[in-house]
Symmetry: C2
Subunit: 629 residues, 2 copies
């Protein structure tokens, strides 16, 4: 068997998963210096699930004769744990017990396994550590020294930064430097400390929340270190999603010249075999958008370079949320509009079309096109479909309410002349139907279909389209969704599943009639153009601009349209007023997947609802002086 | 005028608020060494509101001839800000602008004002600082050095710990040591550092989230320091609620012998005048339960010693949430059950009975007693009331769903034999009605009436009784609610507003009929006795016990009932299984007020929903070994 034959075998093996027939054939053929990278997708705090997976890969590494198999940081414990260890104070000790038993499985093949190590005399605290396991024993432990301070996790309340950490160990006569976590990797002190010990290779075990700019920097840093110190660098990352957080995988190996030698898959569990000394490894392609050099200088409607990453992030997010919570099926309302349409496609890809059911729930406002578009989409996708008109529900509810409102008016002389009550009854009736299906059928979650532009505007209905067990596109703006819809039509195996008319029609909830046109009210008429709104969001999130910056900036929309300055100010005011009013809705956002750098779900963004009167414009000192006199 | 007369005048002045007539009469009568304690209730990030209040009290202090007026930490900025400064990057600079203008108002009366001080070269970061204002200028700034690490805030991401902090300043020839924040007060290094400068008095400006055990310790520490160093100690705290967090006020002064000389009101804004040298001050009473020496050694159904604090905490929480967000009115469903009844009383006390409207929404399961209890309560309280039967809504919804479910069954062969669909349709129909009223009437929020015991069990309905703009009793367990109901009947001015039958009946949602009795299903039959459940909650929260501790503990319920060990294990299993399943519901908990030491809203407790398969019992090493082989 030639080297190339072996490589082919190994790659097919790792692609097909573990296969004892191929394993035994290969045994002994792999160079003894080879290393396995077990890029796994653990479940937070599910030690049994995670341990079984770890043991499976350890045995596989033993079977094919590897020297070393490396797992990511916090593999055994899963990540994040957040407050889990606070409410379940035995968890850290439990995960250590599992580690001891995993150690017993090991032979001369060394395994590096990330776990939560209990801290002596500090109950509930733990180090993020990597255990060196071989010959049936825990041989050594390496601890993380530097902790991140980011708002999407609060594990830092429980994780202890260790005084000692990164160090070298000997694996089969070779000195390897081991580092735990991205922050330790970023510490010059830690790197120079370990380099002094003259390691022959550097291994970093990490659990790194995806962020395209960080991914880019990380790659460069890894390659730079490899070249500077002339040693192979092996970076092993978790893959998968836990609630809204994404780990992209893409574990990688650089040779001592700083060249990329191997890269594991992105957004998929993978077992990669590499040998930096023999130049042996496979480079899997990187989804477009996963490594972005920097935030774009200006807002653009050309989302194309980021859509593959966006798609894979959401599909993994849906799949893992369902898998890890034990749900299988999704039911959603199909309005014939863009949001629910894109959700349906993403759900079908994540869960399988047989596990998705779409319900068209027309009211008297729903147009015929919307009804037929919904049906056509379901047919194209091959998902379940039914029509359930809400006319009777809405009428019965409304007529009961009319009577009640008159009674309430007896106490409160403050009834609105115009209200959104009827609009909301429609949206809430639909949610009652979807939650009803979820109550009636096993392992089924209803889907919240609202998008990020609407979330900023507080435009979705409480207990209506905001409501569901999961919200696939809550972190995708409307203009990006249009681009994603076109991308899906072009890039999925089945082309053009989304009817063109869905993409062409102007978005609107079809909850009310526009008195000016006699047709369903369009969202842009009630709010402002999406192109403008999405640039405000983009600038706030990516450029950290505030109201006064925005007033003075030149928007793309201003370049392409004549926009009077007064109109711009009106829109910006409306944006900020609506955003302040949306804080309550943000606080009850259902679980979603975080796609962009900054997400607004309560796990990542927290602002007191009681701050709703803050002055977003600010005042001059003269105005302030007048206020105080 | 004798000393006593002056005191009487001053107290009545501070109790009635600011009154220029009395002010001018008193001017010059107050000893020039006197100090004003302005225990204010600022709104997070509403600088105009906060500054106007600060200026009002500064002018008042000037008018009555005080030397010094002290405001709490973060008075100008409000607290918490959490991510507010991240989304509005101009906020810190804005609050500094307001400070400069406040300074211009000052005369020879010195004012100490807590604010957010921008950090040079670190945009978005700020110190928690206190400015010393007098003669129209910012004379000095004292910074906080030590930060807390608690999960209910994430301000720590933005607050910078300062290298230098606590220091002495001269006020009217007197050397005063100034300390910012509870954590600086708790630092021995900081205290001994400032004592070396030989101050004549110690002033602590704080914004201290309420916790009865912490309140107790703090009082002792303040008294201890005063006595040890033989100098007066003045502690100025914020009062009020911001979202779920409570600041209790109760600012206080100890004389140089460590004796309590003055205490401002609890749960109320207050302006107190004190003179430690002249033994001049007023001690307001402390609500029962606000200072508790330690967590009780064992669970007890005697909640009496903590009910005044509980009541005042919730009433302040409701009042401030409505005030600070701009809402005035509350509408709630009155089922005739304990939860909605207690909520109605608390709302009436917080918002005024004219601002509360109760709706009885009987279904065919609702008993006659429940209907008449709801009506009687509304009558006793004097709140608005109407009856709106949900029979038609439920029937229309159910019949539409029956047809739809049959269609879904064509795709999914996994329909439950028994489901909660009908139960939930009832709860959701009621929420549609309440949200409808909130949509139709100005400044009106619907109320989520579910309690803490139900929250642990995930027993409340999504988009049903879980749903609302605010949840007054989400942090009160059921057995405590019974005690609170009795306490309300006894301690409110109007006695016995809660009908005795509400307190006597066994709780149940009246959503389903118990097939064994033919009567509405009681919650305890579906779950477990509340007395048992609430002890589990108490032990988890206060004793940090886990499943195995609980199995081995002797419960109060076991002392008073014969409880076979198998039954106990079954209940505990049910508790932990249901709690794991409730994580999604916890993540979308509506804003509430945190009453106990540990609250489960997403601002205070975060556990990944994807951790739902964690093994709460744990395993022995033998069991683990078997699992892995």
């Amino acid at each position: 068997m030639t080297d190339t034959d072996i490589r082919g075998k190994i790659y097919s093996l790792t692609e097909k998963g573990l296969n004892s027939e191929v394993e035994s054939e290969l045994k002994g053929l792999i160079k003894p210096e080879s290393i396995g990278i077990a890029q796994i997708n653990p479940h937070p705090a599910d030690f049994e699930y995670n341990s079984k997976k770890i043991v499976k890969y350890i045995r596989h590494a033993q079977n094919i004769g590897l020297n070393l198999v490396i797992f990511p940081e916090m593999s055994l414990s899963g990540f994040p744990l957040d407050d889990t260890t606070d409410r379940h104070p035995n968890l850290v000790e439990e995960n250590v017990k599992w580690l001891r038993q995993i150690a017993k499985v090991t032979t001369e093949t060394t395994a590096l396994v990330g776990f939560a190590e209990s801290v002596k005399d500090k109950k509930g605290k733990y180090y993020s550590s990597v255990a060196v396991l071989s010959d049936g024993k825990i041989q050594n432990i390496i601890r993380r020294q530097v902790l991140p301070a980011v708002s999407e996790f609060n594990d830092y309340l429980y994780i202890e930064a260790s005084d000692d950490g990164a160090k070298t160990i000997i694996v089969n006569g070779k000195k390897c430097g081991i580092i735990v976590g991205d922050e330790d990797l970023a510490s010059e002190d830690i790197i120079s400390g370990i380099i002094k010990e003259q390691p022959e290779a550097l291994i970093i075990c990490s659990v790194s929340a995806m962020n395209p700019q960080k991914e880019y920097v990380k790659s460069n840093v890894l390659s730079f270190i490899a070249k500077k110190y002339s040693l192979p660098v092996i970076y092993v990352n978790q893959v998968g999603a836990a609630d809204c957080v994404t780990f992209a995988g893409a574990s990688r190996v650089y040779d001592k010249n700083g060249n990329l030698l191997a890269r594991a898959k992105s957004f998929e569990e993978d077992f990669a075999v590499v040998n930096p000394d023999k130049n042996f490894g496979k480079i899997n392609p990187l989804p477009e958008g996963l490594e972005q050099q920097e935030v774009a200088a200006s807002f653009s409607l050309n989302y194309e370079p980021d859509l593959e990453r966006t798609y894979k992030t959401i599909v993994q997010g849906i799949r893992d949320y369902f898998n890890k919570t034990g749900f299988k099926r999704a039911v959603l309302g199909l309005s014939g509009g863009l949001d629910s349409t894109v959700c349906a496609v993403l759900l079908a890809d994540a869960l399988g079309k047989e596990n998705v059911f779409g319900v068209s729930m027309p009211s008297k406002i729903t147009t015929d096109t919307s009804k037929s578009d919904a049906e056509q989409l379901a047919k194209n996708l091959g998902i379940g479909f039914a029509v359930a008109p809400i006319k009777d529900m809405v009428e019965t509810t409304s007529s009961g309410l009319d009577e009640l409102f008159n009674k309430v008016e007896g106490s409160w002389n403050c009834r609105y002349k115009q209200s959104y009550t009827l609009d909301n009854i429609q949206a809430r009736s639909r949610a009652v139907i979807l939650w009803g299906i979820s109550n009636e059928f096993e392992s089924c979650l209803p889907i919240a279909t609202s998008d990020k532009s609407e979330a900023y505007m507080g435009y979705a209905t409480i207990n209506g389209d905001m409501s569901g067990g999961f919200a696939p596109i809550a972190d995708v703006t409307k203009t990006k969704l249009f681009a994603l819809a076109r991308w899906l039509n072009k890039n999925r195996e089945e082309k053009d599943v989304i009817p063109e008319s869905v993409i062409l029609k102007r978005p609107g909830a079809e909850l009310a009639i526009d008195p000016n046109t006699g047709k369903p009210l369009c969202a842009e008429d009630a709010l402002m153009p999406y192109e403008f709104m999405d640039e405000v969001i983009w600038r706030i999130e990516n450029k950290k601009e505030h109201y006064n910056d925005l007033i003075n900036a030149e928007f793309l929309y201003e370049k392409t349209h004549k926009l009077p300055r007064e109109q711009k100010a009106l829109w910006l005011d409306k944006f900020y007023r609506r955003m302040a009013g949306a804080m309550y809705k943000w606080s009850i956002m259902v679980p979603s997947v975080s796609v962009d750098k900054r997400y607004i779900g309560s796990s990542e963004y927290r602002q007191p609802i009681t701050s709703s009167h803050l002055d977003y414009k600010g005042k001059s000192e003269e105005e302030i002086a007048r206020c105080l006199n």
